[in-house]
């Protein structure tokens, strides 16, 4: 049981000196990307190898027996280290070396190098553009422009060991808050101007102040871990990689508004996040950092984990509240806002995972420190999930105000080989698709809104030339249409209409009036919907209509998909030079669309062709071409 701030500082010190006692620490990334590329096998092999060589030492051992200088090597698993493209990643501490694409077979050689204090060149990252090889993580261009506040511990510590979090000054932000007046905690947050990272950018302090001012014996804190935007995994990485930062943020919020119960609502698709959070809550309780009379302050706070059940709209705060109450997740009209009447009608502050992960750091280091990063109106950082056709996919955190171009080309290393940038999709189904010309737009709440997109939760999907923007618009509309809860007519019916039109266009059956109709429907849905889902549903369509108008025209007028994606618009043609007239394709075609005589080149009847591709697979002479 920890009873005082002084004890927290002592534990910080004892954990760090225990770690420093080891000759080295080998940290294997076990984030979602690395785990799927086999990081577990690397870790198991590592422990085996170290044990065989008699060089394995655990943190427990070092903490109990004190460290003898050079007493063995510690092996740890961490949350996401970010550079997922090159996973499984292995970092060597204290030198900060980063090894990429490490496989179990590499482990003996790697351990050998660590023991001998050498660098294993062949596993280092080499920049494909310049050929330069980097040994230390912090020198790699991917990490250079990043600033880690919310992800400070993610990838650095063992998320299943509370001592590791304490070693990073964990719970010291809470300890400081508990010595302050409640309104001063809110004031500190207001000074920092921390804006909600869940998409809206609403100042957290303002929400807290409203809830604090309510006269009610029961108040609640909810952490929104629904992260429904496809193409986003920042909140997942924080919950899995640094769960205690979320708990600490919630406890601070609870103290500031006078709540004693918190809930974390986690997406059904994130079972590991649930497990880690549960473990973290249990450990925090055992150590007296959650529960009754925290650090002898008289403040009590408990947290329960709630699992979502697969509904995008439950990310919306009022729908999320309905879902925790055990009902269908349908949004309610606001006001009343949750901070006045939320869960079970009580004042409730609902904040996003990343917002809450920033809170302990602000309380620890102060608002001034926080405001040194980012822009005046959007201070701090934003995490992004960088995915799609970019060379370096991964999890990044950058100061607000960096441009899209900086992220894609400096951090992301540009496009995958041979591709060029066509668009950047930002903000998920509520966001928009921005063309290459807008690479200079700074990533902050207000600039993006002006450009017709939104920061959303932070999914950044980079799209190359093989992407059809009309198809992307159709894809998002299909998503929204399926996820609309059905309450508002405009959202329910309007999105269906828009989807039908977009499907028509991708099949080459659209006409020019459809484009006006899309805009008109988009405006109507925006105005006639209750919640953000409907209000922002037309964004992907309207932004592609604005920036990629000519692609719509190609589909409609020329019946051609320039990217060659829309199946119905592809044409299958037989190359008369190559065709030997063997007749295999005739037998393979399920539609009887191929005609001709054995021995001379065959022809495909475009009217009958189903574009199934069976003929292409059957041809031995590569004589059938697919044209956009």
């Amino acid at each position: 049981m920890i009873k005082s701030a002084k004890q927290l500082a002592e534990l910080e010190h004892s954990y760090n000196s225990a770690l420093a006692g080891a000759a080295a620490r080998i940290v294997v990334c076990a984030g979602p990307g690395c785990a799927a590329s086999g990081s577990r096998a690397v870790y198991d092999r590592l422990v085996e190898e170290l044990t065989e060589r008699g060089s394995h030492v655990t943190v427990d051992y070092l903490m109990e027996n004190g460290a003898k200088p050079g007493s063995g090597i510690v092996a740890l698993e961490s949350g996401c280290q970010g550079f997922c493209q090159k996973g499984p990643l292995v970092r060597i501490e204290p030198e900060g070396l980063l090894y990429t694409k490490v496989h179990p077979e590499d482990v003996p050689e790697l351990v050998e190098a660590v023991i001998e204090g050498k660098i294993l060149d062949r596993l280092l990252y080499s920049d494909p553009a310049t050929g330069e090889v980097y040994a230390r993580e912090q020198d790699i261009p991917f990490y250079q422009d990043q600033v880690r506040i919310a992800l400070h511990n993610c990838g650095a510590i063992d998320p299943e060991d509370i001592r590791a979090y304490l070693g990073k000054k964990g719970y010291q932000g809470l300890a400081r808050a508990l010595t302050m007046e409640k309104q001063d905690v809110i004031e500190e947050l207001d000074q920092a101007n921390l804006r909600g990272r869940g998409g809206g950018g609403f100042p957290a302090a303002r929400k807290w102040a409203i809830a604090a001012a309510q006269d009610s014996t029961d108040k609640f804190i909810i952490c929104n871990g629904d992260e429904g935007d496809p193409g986003a995994f920042m909140d997942r990485s924080i919950m899995e990689g640094d769960p205690h930062s979320v708990l600490e943020g919630m406890a601070i919020a609870g103290y500031a508004i006078g709540a004693s119960q918190g809930f974390i609502y986690v997406r059904a698709e994130y079972p590991l996040a649930v497990k880690r959070l549960q473990k973290a809550v249990q450990e925090a309780k055992e150590w007296g950092l959650l529960g009754d009379d925290i650090l002898g302050s008289g403040f009590s706070f408990d947290i329960a984990i709630k699992q979502g059940a697969g509904a995008f709209v439950c990310g919306e705060e009022t729908a999320l509240i309905a879902s925790i109450e055990g009902m269908r997740g349908m949004p309610k009209p606001k006001p009343p806002f949750p901070s006045v009447a939320g869960l079970w009608g009580k004042p409730t502050v609902i904040n996003n995972v990343e917002t809450l992960a920033n809170v302990p750091r602000i309380l620890q280091q102060g608002a001034k420190w926080f405001r040194k990063v980012g822009t005046a109106d959007s201070p701090g950082t934003k995490t992004f999930a960088l995915t799609g056709d970019v060379a370096n996919t991964g999890l990044v955190e950058v100061p607000m105000g960096l441009t899209i171009g900086d992220i894609v080309f400096k951090i992301g290393g540009g496009m995958r080989q041979g591709d060029t940038l066509k668009a950047v999709q930002i903000g998920g189904p509520s966001g928009g698709c921005l063309p290459g010309e807008l690479l200079d737009v700074p990533l902050d709440f207000d600039s993006l809104q002006k450009a017709g997109a939104m920061i959303g939760s932070g999914g950044l999907v980079v799209m190359g030339q093989q992407t059809c923007m009309v198809e992307v618009a159709r894809f998002f509309m299909q998503f929204i249409q399926a996820e609309s809860c059905g309450k508002c007519t405009f959202c329910r019916e309007g999105t269906l209409q828009m989807l039908e039109i977009l499907e028509r266009i991708t099949k080459g059956k659209g006409n020019l009036e459809d484009l006006d109709l899309l805009e008109e429907l988009g405006r109507a849905i925006r105005q006639g919907s209750l919640c953000g889902l409907g209000k922002s549903a037309p964004n992907p369509v309207l932004s592609t209509l604005e920036y990629f108008h000519s692609e719509y025209i190609s589909h409609i007028v020329e019946k051609r998909c320039p990217a060659g994606v829309c199946q119905a618009l592809q044409r299958y043609l037989i190359d008369g030079e190559r065709c030997r007239g063997c007749g295999r394709c005739v037998k393979a075609c399920p539609a009887g669309a191929i005609g001709g005589n054995v021995g001379s080149p065959y022809m495909i009847d475009q009217e009958k062709c189903l574009r199934c591709g069976a003929c292409v697979d059957s041809c031995k002479f590569q004589a059938i071409e697919v044209r956009a």
Partner: protein, 171 residues
């Protein structure tokens, strides 16, 4: 415990309800636990749950149909979730999905194969976008999938099931 008898189902429902203290607000966690055990939510069980929590069967049914996680149809031994989130979509999840449906011989409009072995579903983002396109089979994630690679994995699962069957008959 798929294939449970009526008595077993009642016992299961009762134990889950007790675990959640029969609070009406625990409807969703109760259904989640139930589906974990049975792989789907049989209609009879929904009614039992509703009675146990003191809510109307219509409410329970309304919740069960609202959330994508719940299935009112029996599901296969292997649940194949193909991610169709943005990152996976732009990296070719649609052809992948089609290839899987073809490989496990799904009939029109059905999500579960006739032999009851495979259920194929799409989900929007599994949060592993860096290794797109992603397929998750019973909670194990496979990244950078191609139709060829997933076919090999399905071959393996069929073999594994064959071995399970042999073990069952042997015991």
């Amino acid at each position: 415990m798929p294939g449970a008898t009526a008595v077993e189902m009642r016992e299961l429902v009762d134990s889950i309800l007790t675990r959640h203290k029969k609070a009406p607000s625990s409807l969703i966690p109760v259904l989640q636990d139930l589906q974990d055990e049975l792989r789907y939510l049989p209609e009879d069980c929904l009614t039992m749950v509703a009675h146990g929590l003191g809510i109307s069967p219509a409410t329970a049914y309304g919740v069960a149909t609202f959330y994508a996680q719940f299935s009112l149809e029996p599901r296969g031994k292997y649940i194949i979730k193909v991610c169709d989130g943005t990152a996976c979509h732009v990296r070719g999840s649609s052809p992948l999905y089609q290839a899987i449906c073809k490989r496990v011989k799904l009939e029109n409009g059905k999500a579960t194969s006739k032999n009851g072995l495979f259920t194929v579903e799409t989900v929007a983002c599994l949060g592993a976008c860096v290794i797109a396109p992603v397929v998750v089979i019973n909670d194990k994630a496979y990244g950078q999938m191609t139709p060829e690679a997933i076919n090999l994995i399905i071959d393996e699962l069929e073999k594994e099931d064959g071995r399970d069957q042999v073990c069952k008959t042997a015991s």
